[in-house]
Symmetry: C2
């Protein structure tokens, strides 16, 4: 277990623990020949799950005796659980034994521990949580989704840099279009911090398209939507709530009577295709950007298919070297700001 492409998997956290993390991770081995896995957790739990499946020769179990609880306070996790599966997985990234780590654990604890162990990319003040959202053109990346409720214009500018680098790495978008979330397209609206970020983004060497509104997340007009962690988290959950609510109403109407059920049967190929296109499992794997290492957060309730997708995100970011990409782009943006300040001084 060293060199090449090794992903450290916190195999004990999440609502379903090792029972989904192990098979989900193993599923990625088949399609990724150079991938090696460091499965972190209690050997007596992980060993039997590994069994004698295909590709297990590319798996190593790394012992960790503790587990961070899903409701445990981040500070407690950081101070008291130094041998947790989460902490040990992050340590493997720090030591260079792994190129990235994946965890379905407690978001606050993962963020605090990763920040403490890995530190930030120089020039990035705070980490952000970013995830793809299905949109008309494929995917929109939105950040921050909850790491920082209050953001100043420095944070928002840095989020734009990180989102831009990630869109290029994940989707190969050459010049990702970046929008700043606001409540109107006129320059008079929004808060002071947002107006300040808008002015700075307009001068930065990024493909900044200006203010966007909540419905533009889906419009295909932008590749990256930048906002503070409070607004981003509420918007994400409101979107998930809307989709779930529509799904519930649809099921009620399609099963209201025998006749309706027969009709639903006739439409089932279309309804299955719809379900597949909007399957939230396909979008599992949020990136904690800004850290000096790749850390992927899987949904706590992820099943095997979902968890595998989170591991796939880790593979892409590890291959591309996301933190270095962010560092380079930030350097260009910072240099341009300095040059602009010097020319107007």
């Amino acid at each position: 277990m060293s060199g090449g492409l090794t992903i450290a998997v916190d195999a004990m956290s999440g609502d379903l623990g090792a029972a989904t993390a192990v098979p989900g991770s193993l599923d990625v081995l088949a399609s990724t020949p150079e991938l090696k896995l460091a499965l972190v957790g209690r050997r007596e739990v992980l060993g039997p799950l590994l069994g004698k499946g295909a590709h297990v020769d590319r798996c190593t179990i790394v012992e960790a005796s503790e587990i961070v609880g899903m409701d445990e306070h981040p500070k407690d996790a950081l101070r008291k659980k130094k041998d947790s599966s989460m902490r040990v997985a992050i340590n493997l990234v720090k030591s260079g034994h792994a190129s990235a780590c994946v965890s379905a654990g407690n978001t606050g604890a993962l963020l605090a521990t990763a920040r403490f162990v890995l530190r930030m990319i120089p020039g990035i003040d705070r980490p952000a949580i970013v995830s793809p959202v299905p949109a008309a053109h494929g995917h929109t990346l939105m950040l921050d989704l909850g790491a920082n409720p209050d953001c100043n214009s420095d944070n928002l500018l840095q989020f734009a840099v990180m989102g831009s680098a990630l869109a290029t790495d994940l989707y190969g978008t050459a010049r990702p279009r970046i929008g700043l979330l606001n409540i109107g397209e006129e320059e008079i609206k929004g808060t002071d911090q947002i107006r300040a970020a808008h002015a700075r983004l307009g001068r930065a060497p990024l493909n900044y398209v200006g203010f966007v509104e909540g419905d533009d997340i889906f419009s295909g007009e932008v590749d990256v939507v930048v906002t503070d962690g409070f607004t981003g988290n509420v918007a994400l959950k409101a979107m998930e709530g809307t989709a779930r609510f529509i799904g519930t109403v649809m099921r009620e109407e399609l099963t209201r009577s025998t006749l309706r059920k027969a009709g639903a049967m006739a439409a089932s190929p279309a309804l299955s295709a719809l379900k597949k296109r909007l399957d939230p499992r396909a979008y599992n794997g949020a990136t904690m950007v800004g850290l000096a290492g790749v850390v992927i957060k899987s949904h706590g309730g992820a099943d095997r298919v979902s968890f595998a997708n989170a591991v796939r995100v880790a593979v892409v970011e590890a291959r591309k070297g996301l933190p270095e990409q962010i560092g380079e782009l930030l350097g260009r943006v910072t240099a341009a700001e300095r040059a602009g300040a010097a020319s107007t001084a």
Copy 2:
């Protein structure tokens, strides 16, 4: 045109102007025998649209020579368009000739003009925009939807009072359950203003249930969701965007082939019922609460059915006397805060 239940209709604003405002308003006359309408605008436009329809004896045209543009700056509308259909409709509420007014015009101009003409309910610092959202139990009222991007704990407490009074008036809910939007249910999360509002709401004589998250807007666990106007506006538009995106994907999948179209046909009773249950036209009519008068904002692109629904909201609030209800409830909440402060002093 005086006394009884008279609604002043700004019949010239909105994307479609008089062509939808007039027939939409007239549609409400049939089901509301005591209703009278004051249709405000240019007589030569409105007269022909009134024609000799049923119930036109309960309509009066009130002349107004100007129209506020949909993109006009609120300050310009306020200072320069003193004979606009919007301004004259609001004036009718101020003078007591109408019990409420409805406009599909420019939100900023309507808010600024209504605030200038009608003034605030004593004790309410700022108006808020509130609208129902379909939810598991029927409707959730959410506010603020964009009037105030930055809110302090006074504003949030006042929004809770206004939402509570409105839920009782619109849906007859005896003790509306109020939730404060946050990014987690733990008391440690959120901003200082939100934590302060949370503490004050917990002591107020309101049915406050605590923090809720974005997906609780639909859960049926609360009747009123309180948030600042930035978050509320983004969440509302993200929800609308999600619903529209799902609708687009659904249409694509249901019409992808002849076979798929035949299947969709078989399922069409269920799909029509679904469409009807989620029809945004049924939720048209946002209330500008906090003003010393009832002002209803129709969506700018409202069609006839939508506009009629906005007029119906005005009818309910005018009958109930929403501003007085808010004033009374605010008095009780303020008295309880004073008593609490005195007992701990």
